[in-house]
Symmetry: C2
Subunit: 286 residues, 2 copies
Amino acid sequence: MVALPDNHYNESSGHYFDWFKKYSGNHKLKITQIRNATQIIEYAGKRFLVDPMFSDKDAWPGFEGTVRSEIRNPMVALPLDIRSLLDVDAIIVTHTHPDHWDQAAADSVPKHQLIYVQNENDKALLQHQGFTNLQVLTEGCYFGDIELIKTTCQHGSDAAYGNPQLAELLGDACGIVFRHPSEKTLYLVGDSLWVKTVEENMRNYMPDVLIMNTGWAHVLGYGAIIFGKEDIVRAHVVLPDAQIVATHMEAVNHCLVTRQDVLEYAQINQIQDYVSAPADGESLVF
Amino acid sequence: MVALPDNHYNESSGHYFDWFKKYSGNHKLKITQIRNATQIIEYAGKRFLVDPMFSDKDAWPGFEGTVRSEIRNPMVALPLDIRSLLDVDAIIVTHTHPDHWDQAAADSVPKHQLIYVQNENDKALLQHQGFTNLQVLTEGCYFGDIELIKTTCQHGSDAAYGNPQLAELLGDACGIVFRHPSEKTLYLVGDSLWVKTVEENMRNYMPDVLIMNTGWAHVLGYGAIIFGKEDIVRAHVVLPDAQIVATHMEAVNHCLVTRQDVLEYAQINQIQDYVSAPADGESLVF
């Protein structure tokens, strides 16, 4: 373990956080892409399963009212067996849209498993599904010595949220900042468009690694409800040293951006050294 | 000529404009795509040449500091001879970036030709080039009985304008609303990103036809400086009945969106009946 310096005030950001950062311990931050937004995050010696969508390929129809709804979901199979995915310390459900928490996940996850949810509504839903060990994320939440900071998303445009029915469907979603004294800071941004709070979170928490949901899911008549490839450039402008892991692509009908789109776009914009788009089953270590 | 009703106050927008709209006279609004943002607009019996870029194919290098700068500009030849393009009543130069007003245009356009420019700076530049009949666009400008309303653009992100050197390079650009009692209202939006003023102009002027520069030109390190394909959906949300003519594509190095991209995206979003992306030399009548 690298010795940590005393805390000191960072003038540029106004936050005490330097000691959290850059001092790798025995554990490496490891992100394994599973499918869509489902990932295994190994962080400070703990394993987290994020946004489990466990249904078989083609199990349900495309999302009504979204683009390409004739395509069935999930569009691809899981790359690993479900049992191996459940060997984790905690599950994080950023929100309960079925491409982040589906019936197959609810059926497979042990009822006593610790699950972090974004709010009381989602807690009630999972309680109703029989789960007994639920924790509502807050801005000051700890799992052991890992700080989990809930962050805000905007899961659609102002125009989309201006339609009451669509606003109800889109609902809330969250991101999470992972911090630990001996780990890089990770910001899982969540299902969001590029909005001021997302940029502010990047400036405030100065993450070393970003997970961005860049599939550019589209609702008919309202356009994008999650990031597209252009948002990796926006993130790079704010955090020029951060590594960006692009996910939530090529798995559900309404996502229009592919991994190849993201990687080609990164190349054209000459930021390819900062951008990854792991295949399902692929792991990245930071 | 269709009889015009008396002016009446439109409660939804708060403007007197209904009598301007929808009552076609002898003349049709005709837009001929030339190349890049260069177009011939026939409006209320007058012909306007917009943003002449007249250089030969490959005449100058790609724009330094932009994506794909190894590609020479213009990427394609003009579809018509320059002399035919100069048979107009007035020229409009939305700004003086060389893909909107190049040396070849300055050399070809007669010095006494009426040219509308966006501001005193561009007027001074064209005066220096020998032009003698320059008119600075304002919000209350008339060419005969055609009202030409200058509108504001934002030709790059806030981050891009936060870089003083880049802000100087990007500079100002403008759009124009064309209004006439016997014509559809046309909003040539200009080189802009989707910003509040653009949306406000759409709501205020309620154009029947939009010309949108959707080539998604990119500056290295800062991303897009003009509209991309997603902005046609944004425009459609605001103006669900408007026809959108997409232009400024496939002609200069830093534009990443093609006509095919726009048309496929319109199809996927089920707004294909409202979107055109004319080929160079093609005309559309409204």
